[in-house]
């Protein structure tokens, strides 16, 4: 089925369909990107850019590190009561790669994400089947608190705890049922986590200030620092930039690119441009099913499925 009319927002270079995208955008995008068509404004790199999506934005060329298998989702189904939210999804999660879960609202991508650290269990009436392993061990057999220290999560809304910047990170470092470590004992680890989240320089002098006084973007990076403080193997991000301004979004996207080397990153995003910019692998979900799982190159260049093609081109969503 050919689309009758290319939608205005994510229009491609010409009217020839989808093939030109791949030609105009060899992967990974080199500096010698195809010339932009006339009239296309310079992209400002944010997700809310009204112009053509995949043309003006050049994906930062990055050396892809060696991928290590971390988690394996096998035939996962999740239901809330009678409502099936995720249906037999299988996919790998690898360190060294950013996996983006894309799809329209209510397609189950957040549920899939929350299954990875068993946060779905907190929802009343949720039931699941299938198997998820972390480094070969079934997560169902793990203590939830232990699992969630290894698979940490950052949420859509920045949600620092009502304490100082320092304590937000130190809170995570404090192991369960142990005496609270001395401030000096955790200082190094706190600063390291803040540095990994690219926040240390901005807050170094204000570590004792209330975290809720930071700006929205800083709050979200503090939440990432908090999630990193537990030294997780997998970092889950649930639309981490949807409440942020373009500059903060860019900072966090750059950060995600750096983080994937020591932690497997899974990001849920509504924003196709964002997935295009940061993902190495993309899973497209629709109505609870995983329609397609492919490299970002394939997903945005020549998706195998018709529904993926329509979604990526903006025909629905």
């Amino acid at each position: 089925m050919e689309l009758r009319k290319p939608p205005p927002v994510r229009r491609l270079t010409g009217n020839e369909g989808y093939a030109p995208l791949r030609e105009a955008h060899p992967w990974p995008a080199p500096d010698t990107a195809a010339p932009e068509p006339p009239g296309v404004p310079e992209s400002n790199g944010n997700g809310h850019h009204p112009g053509p999506a995949f043309v003006g934005v050049s994906r930062p060329a990055r050396a892809v590190p060696i991928a290590i298998d971390r988690m394996q989702v096998e035939d996962l189904s999740v239901a809330y009561g009678a409502k099936q939210a995720v249906q037999s999804v299988s996919l790998p999660i690898r360190q060294g790669e950013v996996l983006a879960l894309i799809g329209p609202s209510g397609c189950g991508k957040t549920t899939l994400l929350r299954s990875l650290n068993r946060l779905t269990e907190l929802t009343r009436g949720a039931s699941s089947s299938g198997r998820i392993t972390l480094d070969g061990v079934d997560i169902a057999s793990m203590e939830p608190t232990a699992l969630r220290r290894r698979v940490t999560m950052v949420f859509q809304q920045p949600n620092p705890f009502p304490m100082s910047v320092f304590d937000n990170v130190a809170y995570v470092l404090r192991e369960q049922a142990k005496r609270r470590p001395k401030r000096e004992a955790v200082r190094g680890a706190v600063q390291e986590a803040l540095a990994r989240a690219g926040l240390l320089d901005e807050v170094a002098d204000n570590l004792d200030h209330p975290a809720l006084r930071l700006s929205g973007g800083q709050q979200q990076r503090l939440c990432i620092a908090r999630a990193l403080a537990a030294s997780p193997e997998v970092l889950l991000l649930d639309e981490p930039c949807s409440a942020l301004d373009p500059q903060s979004t860019k900072l966090i996207e750059d950060l995600i690119g750096r983080l994937r080397e020591d932690v497997a990153v899974v990001i849920v995003t509504h924003n196709l441009q964002q997935a295009y910019r940061i993902a190495d692998y993309v899973a497209f979900m629709y109505l609870g099913e995983m329609v397609e799982y492919a490299s970002a190159q394939k997903m945005f260049g020549s998706p195998g499925e018709q529904r993926t093609r329509e979604y990526v081109s903006g025909a629905f969503g």
């Binding site: 939830p144 969630r148 999560m153 949420f155 949600n159 705890f161 809170y171 999630a227």
Partner: protein, 327 residues
């Protein structure tokens, strides 16, 4: 030539914006609606006037009769104004009884609120607890006082009050503050619970998502976040406690001065009877046994000063809580 740049500058400036009408006029409304609006206005003004009249009256009367000596002398027997002394003991009684009642109501109220908001399993028990609290909130304090007399006259609880000829009197600071804590408890529970429920669920999940247990989340994240509500609840509770009269008269004795049960300094006083400002006002009101209205006005002024200070404190706590928060 000189006019050309001026016109160039003037050209892009936008036309002056039309004045914005902030609200619609009621002129187009139906007559009944307009009468209703006028009625609402009238009632609003009326109640403002009533509040101002009460506060203003006691401000004027209180300031007229309040002498510093009243705050440092004790009530005494006598007929004339100069003989009957001040209200030091009732004032101290108010402070002691508030502190003791809140020492019970605040921890208990926070605990109940946390359980109702964060745990609340089994659901049937939570519902029962909820309606129990509601029932307590609706019980007149004189009924609580009556129940308190039954309770504290029990021989087993004799150590909390005075025993005379083998009969437990059941009147003491312990007895009164125990029952007054039940007056404050529903306020604390309701306010703290509301504060906890106002915390978005993603904040709880953020704590679980870094491997924290429910109890660690409650202690280290939720209760600190609900601290403004705890302060508000405590202040509202204190307001209820210091305003109560029935429990003071029935369970504290309404004896104007402290009357220790034993010679033990603190414990003797707390096991003995006493009075609060409300009891003092009740006694000295023009219709009361003491009939020293000037003293009653002065005491009422002090009592209102305390209540107003608490209200300002609540406002302050609430305003601070709005300073930082989550969306």
């Amino acid at each position: 030539m000189s006019s050309a740049p001026a016109s160039l500058i003037a050209a892009p400036s936008p036309p002056p914006p039309a004045p914005v009408r902030r609200s619609e006029s009621s002129a187009s409304w139906r007559l009944t609606d307009r009468i209703g609006l006028g009625f609402a206005w009238l009632l609003g003004l009326l109640f403002c006037a009533i509040a101002v009249a009460i506060v203003g009256y006691f401000l004027v009367e209180g300031l007229r009769y309040l002498r510093p000596s009243l705050l440092v002398t004790n009530p005494a027997a006598g007929v004339s104004e100069s003989q009957t002394g001040g209200f030091l003991d009732p004032l101290l009684g108010t402070v002691i009884i508030s502190a003791m009642a809140m020492a019970i109501a605040l921890p208990a109220g926070i605990a109940i609120a946390v359980w109702l908001s964060e745990f609340g399993r089994p659901a049937a028990l939570a519902r029962v607890a909820e309606s129990g609290i509601e029932m307590l909130a609706g019980t007149p304090s004189v009924v609580l006082a009556l129940f308190g007399t039954l309770l504290f006259e029990a021989p087993a609880l004799g150590f909390l009050s005075q025993t005379s000829h083998g009969i437990v009197l059941g009147q003491s600071f312990f007895a009164a503050s125990a029952m007054l804590s039940l007056v404050a408890l529903p306020m604390v529970v309701a306010t703290v619970r509301e504060g906890l429920q106002a915390i978005p669920s993603h904040v709880r999940e953020a704590s679980y998502a870094v491997g924290k247990t429910k109890i660690a989340t409650t202690r280290r994240v939720l209760l600190p976040a609900a601290r403004p509500s705890v302060i508000t609840g405590a202040m509202l509770g204190v307001g209820r406690v210091i305003g109560d009269t029935a429990i003071v008269l029935l369970l504290l004795g309404g004896t104007l001065t402290f009357s220790s049960a034993t010679s033990t300094p603190l414990l003797g006083t707390l096991r003995g009877t006493g009075d609060t400002l409300t009891g003092y006002i009740y006694y000295n009101a023009p219709t009361g046994d003491g009939n020293q209205p000037s003293k009653a006005y002065a005491a009422a002024f002090v009592l209102m000063l305390i209540v107003l200070t608490l209200n300002v404190g609540v406002d302050f706590a609430v305003r601070r809580s709005r300073a930082g928060g989550w969306s």
